[in-house]
Amino acid sequence: MAGFLLILVAALFFPGVILRTKSIASGRKGPGIFQPLKDIAVMLRKGSVFSDTTGIIFRIAPSVALVSVIVAMLLLPFAQYKALISFEGDFIFFAYLLALGKFFMIIAALDTGSSFQGMGASREALYSMIVEPAFFVLMATFAMFTGYTSFSVIFNHFYITGNDYVFIYSVIGAYLFIQIAMIENSRLPVDDPKTHLELTMVHEVMILDHSGFDKALIHAGTYLKFAMYGSLIYNLIVPAGWNTPVKVLMFFIVQALFAVVIGITESFRARNKMNKNPKYILTLTSVALIAFMVILILTEKLI
């Protein structure tokens, strides 16, 4: 339960920190930390507009997407506190919950019949598809390393395996989770959430037809997803043994640092050319594979 609540709290300030970082990096005053939340509050009070060509899929998709994220959050532990839902192989459930939400957003985009949305949907489907192996290979590495297949148990045992290589895995894991989070949430360098140019958009063009309440749900889902990945990173890099107040503090520090890293990445580089994206995303899988090979050798499974 603690993990779930902490993610909720972290999601409140996460997008604001990214925004502040970007504002400061570009020498602007920028909006306050809670501006994204205020925007959501405004949108929640508005009605939605639906095009005549759309059907039931378009209407339920944002809710399905948000719910899938919320359920996925229930699978994540916080330090030694077990998650609300925890079973053998729950990380596979986690990945496909998120994929379910994405699947509904993609078919909702196709539901509109607009050529823009179809274009965005095809891009988003491609990128989600090729980022998936990186997540699974990484999780397989952790499973091999600790000998368990559930988030709660994996993270509980991560630091008490008595293995000297834990640090390396924390770093590789944190790096990959940051990258996966940025791709899953359509940030730079794969996508640009700020652009107004439909032809260059990936995620934004897919949700172009959603408005008001539905759009608020989509944004809320994005923020929660960020904090969720932040929580995964936290579990990887902070040992479970410390006392609880320090760990809660550390949790928010990790989340804030994660947001700052995203903000800085987005300030000081340009986004990729669209046809370079698949290659870029595939490199994550290769990094994960290297980690996997090393664990195979270490646990003497390979030789």
Binding site: S26, F116, M119, E198, K273
Partner: protein
């Protein structure tokens, strides 16, 4: 005999007498144009047609880049026929002019690839032609799909429709359909008649981002029709204004290019610099885009020592900072990955599309009116046009840096001459008397490229026809060529690297 086939005039100087222009019959007219335009030193400034009591009169202004003259060819069509042999199959750049003539006067051109509408003028020949029936090029295939963008766009920009035929993410063909902003501005000019102030205001509104360029083209056209010779101080002020406009827009475009590839730092840095420049223009004339600054016969805002010093001060700062920023932008790997090899236009393509100005200079084609047909104080100066050869987005970005530095140098030189010279800029003259039966051509090099204004007067010295050619008219074609075989996601970037005017095309 050749000398009798055309009349030669200089840019914005003594107009040609309408009666003195030799009238050729069409085969000779066509042959002469094809021979000339086959050579690279010639390009067409404007080709138009207007009604005379007996039929139609065709006028073609050809610029000779080597001698700096403008040749005017004329043909009168009095037989009432409905079709002529097209020029476009020999010189493709002429296609747009023939489309315009066809649209307005219903005249056919045999051998023209496709006489599509250009801008839907109110007095078009066939009123049944409306924007919703525009004949788009189509490809039938299971694997291809069409993407239509506009006329209403996501950003706050002008309306225009882009129709892509794509194979997945790759663009096979782009068709650009404009005409949403037609205001009949050429007719408004003739209707404004004697009212010089109204004409000046109209000229500044042809394309909002080129107020100085178009304003100057009109002012010097009026002056040449009236035989008014501007004093050097006025000429210098106008050139400074023109270069300020160029610097401001180029820096703004650099910011927009960075924004399109999501490079935030380059964007905000350049936006800040652009503000400094246009605020200096505002300090000078009260308008950030230089509206009200250029007037025929004189100026409401003569340059003063205070303004000149302010311009020099801002220029020094902006140039230094802009060079720093662009050094960062154009060496950043992630930016280079987007700009290089994107939206390439070859020299040959630019030549056949009739590209002018920046679009031409970025692919190695020298087209700079300041150098080839100098006007105002450029006549006393040596301008060496900046040149890039690769023709991609990177080249157009780099060209902007080169031109900003060059313009800054020009302004410094001009201010120095101005400080040492006599300052006798007078007040604007709005009731200039035009010479009767004359045709005057005025060409300026706006930031986008050459701007050509042509005016014809009747026996009483009244304006009977006023024709405008914005550089965008030809350059839109270059953009359509640039995005072929590119990714559709790179289109906004290519579009921004040209930054063409919609209303300049629509008039």
């Amino acid at each position: 005999m050749t000398s009798l086939r055309y009349t030669e005039v200089m840019n914005a100087s003594v107009p040609a007498g309408t009666e003195d222009i030799p009238v050729l019959d069409y085969s000779l007219f066509r042959e002469e144009l094809i021979t000339m335009l086959g050579r690279e030193q010639f390009h067409c400034l404007n080709y138009f047609c207007h009604r005379i009591p007996e039929g139609l009169r065709f006028m073609c202004c050809i610029a000779d880049d080597e001698t700096g003259t403008i040749r005017i060819l004329c043909h009168e069509k009095k037989d009432g026929g409905t079709s002529l042999r097209s020029l476009s199959d020999s010189c493709t750049a002429m296609h747009i002019f023939e489309r315009e003539i066809h649209e307005r006067y219903g005249l056919g051109f045999e051998g023209h690839p496709w006489l599509k509408p250009v801008r839907y003028p109110h007095d078009r020949a066939d009123r049944r032609n409306v924007i919703s029936t525009y004949p788009f090029y189509e490809m039938e295939s299971e694997v291809l799909h069409e993407v239509g963008v506009g006329p209403v766009h996501a950003g706050v920009i002008e309306p225009g429709h882009f129709r892509f035929i794509c194979n997945g993410e790759k663009v096979l063909h782009l068709e650009i359909q404009l005409g949403y902003q037609h205001r009949g501005i050429e007719r408004l000019f003739t209707e404004a008649g004697e009212n010089g102030l109204r004409r000046s205001l109209l000229a500044e509104s042809i394309a909002g981002d080129t107020a100085t360029g178009h304003g100057l083209a009109h002012a010097q056209l009026s002056e040449s029709l009236a035989g008014f010779i501007p004093p050097p101080s006025l000429e210098i002020e106008r050139c400074i204004a023109l270069e300020m406009e160029r610097i401001g827009i180029h820096i703004g475009d650099t910011a927009a290019l960075c924004a399109d590839v999501a490079y935030q730092l380059g964007q905000v840095a350049c936006e800040a610099l652009r503000t400094l420049i246009i605020n200096t223009t505002q300090f000078w004339c009260g308008n950030r885009f230089g509206k009200g600054l250029i007037r025929p016969g004189g100026s409401d805002y003569p340059l003063t020592e205070k303004i000149a010093d302010e311009i020099l001060r801002v220029l020094g700062e902006v140039e230094r900072r802009y060079v720093n920023v662009t050094d960062c932008v154009y060496t950043l790997p992630s930016v280079l990955g987007r700009f290089e090899e994107t939206g390439t236009v070859s020299r040959q393509q630019a030549l056949s599309a009739g590209a002018v100005g920046m679009a031409a200079r970025s692919c190695g084609l020298v087209r700079d009116i300041r150098a080839s047909h100098p006007f105002q104080y450029y006549r006393q100066m040596e301008i060496k046009p900046a040149l890039q050869t690769k023709g991609d987005v990177m080249a157009r970005g780099r060209l902007r840096v080169m031109e900003v530095r060059e313009s800054a140098g020009i302004i410094r030189k001009l201010v120095e001459v101005w400080k040492n010279g006599e300052k006798n800029t007078g007040r604007p003259v709005y009731d200039l008397r035009f010479m009767p039966e004359s045709l005057a051509v005025s060409v300026t090099e706006g930031w986008r490229g050459e701007i050509c204004h042509v005016a014809l007067t009747d026996a009483d010295g009244r304006l009977v026809d006023y024709r405008i050619k914005d550089p965008s008219l030809h350059n839109w074609m270059a953009l359509a060529l640039a995005v072929r075989n590119q990714e559709i996601s790179d289109f906004p970037l290519c579009n921004k690297s040209f930054n063409l005017s919609y209303c300049g095309n629509d008039l």
